[in-house]
Amino acid sequence: MTRQTVLNATHRALGAKMVDFGGWDMPLNYGSQIEEHHAVRRDAGMFDVSHMTVVDLTGANVRPLLRKLLANSVDKLKTPGKALYSCMLNADGGVIDDLIVYYLAEDFFRVVVNAATRDKDLAWIAAQAQPFGVAVRERADLAMIAVQGPNARAKVFGLLSPEARAGAEKLGKFVACEGDGLFIARTGYTGEDGFEIMVPETQAVALWNRLKDAGVAPAGLGARDTLRLEAGMNLYGQDMDETVTPYEAGLAWTVALDEGRDFIGRPALEREKAQGSKRAMVGLVMDEKGVLRHGQKVLTARGEGEILSGTFSPTLGKAIAFARIPAGDPGAVRVDIRGREVPVRIVKYPFVRDGRPCEGI
């Protein structure tokens, strides 16, 4: 049974091409994926991300639970509204999911996890929460619209009451506030500035239409994927899963080995750190024509690797990818495209930030 967000009929009325994504019937594009991509890089676009799973955690012991549950340190969150990106690991250090956690009050944190991993995430969180006496409540009543692009914030400000606007204007990056019944977070998955707005389902269609009237372009999952890959952001299930540790997924920066914090997966990560990782995630750029795709073989001096996420980058006009390859000096790297060995460059990602190619890309 395919699930639908509250905006489903709105997408269809806009002529969206719909696809199944993690069990949800979602818009792939509304015509041209590339135009939607450019709209976000150059002006403002919006995505229905209501399929994502919002979970509220409440109780006196929420912080101790999150100290155990997350590889990043929830103790970095000291001011209400502040958000943190983290992986949730199994005992082997494998990634169960990546998520964003918001600190709202000492007894109230909000977590946003992926749609495709909803069931196993909820089961895992509930099992860990039980001994801490923390209540786990999925917020299926909330829809979510991501408004992204250099002009995204200004267009949202124009729709808010003076009080809500004042709050939203003050938000630093990776911080959220509430206003006009909305939960407004200055976060995103595109490498552009903007907001992710949680809105009660009953008001989501009206908010979408007001944003559209304000000149925000509807954008589908296709553009969302090319934007996030250009921005150097991982996609769960493609770039990492339970067989991969954060160190092998380019996510060492999200692991906090802070003193005395006994999080799930920590012993495995400490072993890996001591011994050195066997695999590394790298960014690739292909200067020749063609497109890098998930599953293509990567040939290095240290052995074979594999393309994880690969696509044509609309901003750069060439193919980019994440690949996981054997650790060590890879030498000259090639990708096997239909039997042809095409040279590629290893680069430091992100590939694109704030509308422009990064240095060395």
Partner: protein, 131 residues
Amino acid sequence: MSEIPGDLKFLKSHEWARVESDGTVTVGISDHAQSLLGDLVYVELPGVGDRVQAGNACAVVESVKAASDVYAPVSGEVVAINEALNDKPETINEDAYGEGWIFVVKMENKDELGELLDPDAYAELIEGEDH
């Protein structure tokens, strides 16, 4: 969906073929196929002089979303390729039945044309796919 020109024949795999006045056959992909693929970003063309076999893959069209083989509707030698697609693959999105042609084959066996679908049969096929 744009009108399907009446002088075209189709493969079930969405290639079109048009017999030109000099007996050569121009090949492209259908408007339906380009709409399924989305924005095209790369076309791998066959080489002039290559021999292609009806039903075999001889070119690749790639959109942001996916790579898709292009099958030869008829057998013969490739006598022309649309090199403009190297720089502007999106021409196929804009004009699949015209400027978006991919290659031209000097046909070896006219009987192979009889195996292809006429526009009505093709329209029926894609109608069926949509439901």
